[in-house]
Point group: C2
Chain length 301, copies 2
């Protein structure tokens, strides 16, 4: 089934204890789309890039069969760029710069033939842009919303308006606590469920992820990694894998969302093993299936 | 099968955001023994109390069919007492006082008829006392060792000597990092496996627990609690449930230890719901079975 993904497309500067990378392909829509493309066909990407966006990235995205009809390519201006430096523990990072470029005046325009997309992933962008997407789409089967600490800090009101209209909210533990002013994640989850979403997924990095609905709770382990090279895009990759599995199966039951959480976790675990998009640039179906199976092995008793 | 448990028996002062309790029954041997008694018979407790130790606590422990042959009751002197205050987040605590009392000169003496105990749990006490136990027991099937941050700080050398002689080490994530100087828990686990134990169990509180051996890895979820009243004894309760299940089944395979981790987690989840030992004072087999089943439900996909 069709998956519409809206978010940023970026050329990032990344610095971690393991090295640096300039002009690294990044952005929420990029990671989400590439990740989803491992699970389902008809992935539709909406975003914007500048004249500096390398043709090789377009070729790569197209090779993943991601439909770029909704990717605006501005003749002038630069692609959105974020520079970040991760500290030794990889849990904290400094933003070195944010250059909005063509993203500054971006308003997502959903192509007419995509307005009836069945699955919609509102990637991590300003909530008012997410709302603009919601106003253009028609009768989606499922809307998934990702977000980040920045929007909770500066645009909580707009975010809460979006949350009233989405089916699934995905965020990390720190963000869940910020959004709800509640330390206990179980209580935080219940508070978020009262904000609109029918399902909330809280990502906890090395501690896995939990999925909560009104009457069910699921805890997924993390893949045991001895180290990570670059955490950038892990959350987006998770979200893309999550919605990718739901679109592939056409099953939006909470039971099936448990598997979606594990696929999201599996793809995110590949993502952080390499810089930028490289960890999920060329996975085989066998690699993904094997990692999914490992999640089962490590959590069985 | 028989389980020998050595540790402290205490009368604690507890203060949490939910209240206070004076003269609260506590101590590592207490929590371990009571917890194990829900899973297996022939639980043998070695420790020491003073003349102030209330008879009602003896009656309670005896009612749980815990054999107190190894519990020295000094005619003079006070029972070990720890006073602690937990902060709002329940993750940090201040030690208000530590009164060693009769524990100051305690040296565990294993009764002759207990020297061939099949399962041995070295509860959380000074590693040199744990070593004294190891020197007295004969051909145990399995030795499990618990410890705490204090011993890692002040008696690392003695602790490392003990670790060379135990089969399973149980500790929490903070302690694992302290013991190994390694932030990544997977790498920390591998380092600890090289210190002696064949199996390492790392407890992560609200994030569950992981079990690692040379060639296997298991991640258990945490029971989703909306809040905890008193974390005291949760780690001891975990260890008691862990060894209790192994003793009940007589199966020391790593596969069976996965179930043991879940029983330990289940009992610990009851423990923190009430002050002191009250959360595990009077559980029914049905309650425990139901909580074990819940761990399966919340981790299945």
């Amino acid at each position: 089934m069709s998956v519409l993904i809206v978010g940023s497309v970026a050329l990032d500067y990344l610095e971690t204890p393991f090295g640096k990378m300039e002009q690294a392909l990044g952005g929420s829509a990029t990671f989400c789309s590439v990740s989803a493309s491992y699970l389902t066909e008809d992935v539709r990407c909406v975003g914007i890039v500048g004249s500096d966006f390398p043709e090789e990235h377009i070729r790569f995205l197209t090779s993943r069969k991601i439909d770029l009809l909704g990717l605006v390519r501005e003749a002038e201006g630069k692609t959105f760029s974020w520079g970040g430096r991760y500290h030794d523990d990889m849990n904290t990072r400094d933003t070195l710069y944010t250059e909005l470029g063509v993203f500054e005046h971006f308003h997502p325009v959903i192509p007419e033939e995509w307005k009836k997309s069945e699955f919609v992933l509102l990637g991590n962008i300003h909530p008012s842009l997410q709302m603009e997407v919601l106003e253009q789409i028609e009768e989606p089967r499922l809307v998934v919303c990702d977000t980040m600490n920045l929007w909770i800090n500066i645009s909580k009101k707009e975010l809460k308006a979006v949350l009233k209209k989405v089916d699934v909210l995905i965020l990390n533990d720190e963000e869940a606590r910020m959004l709800t002013d509640e330390r206990n994640l179980i209580v935080a989850g219940q508070k978020m469920l009262r904000m609109g979403p029918k399902v909330v997924v809280i990502k906890k990095g090395e501690h896995g992820a939990v999925l909560m609905s009104k009457d069910s709770y699921f805890s997924a382990p993390a893949f045991p990694l001895e180290g990570i090279k670059d955490p950038t895009g892990a959350g987006d990759t998770f979200a893309g894998g999550f919605i990718g599995w739901l679109a592939r199966t056409g099953d939006v039951s909470v039971a099936n969302m448990r598997k979606a959480v594990v696929y999201g976790s599996a793809l995110a675990s590949f993502c952080v093993e390499e810089f930028s998009i490289d960890g999920i640039r060329a996975l085989t179906p066998e690699q993904l299936a094997e990692r999914f199976a490992t999640f089962r092995t490590i959590s069985s008793f």
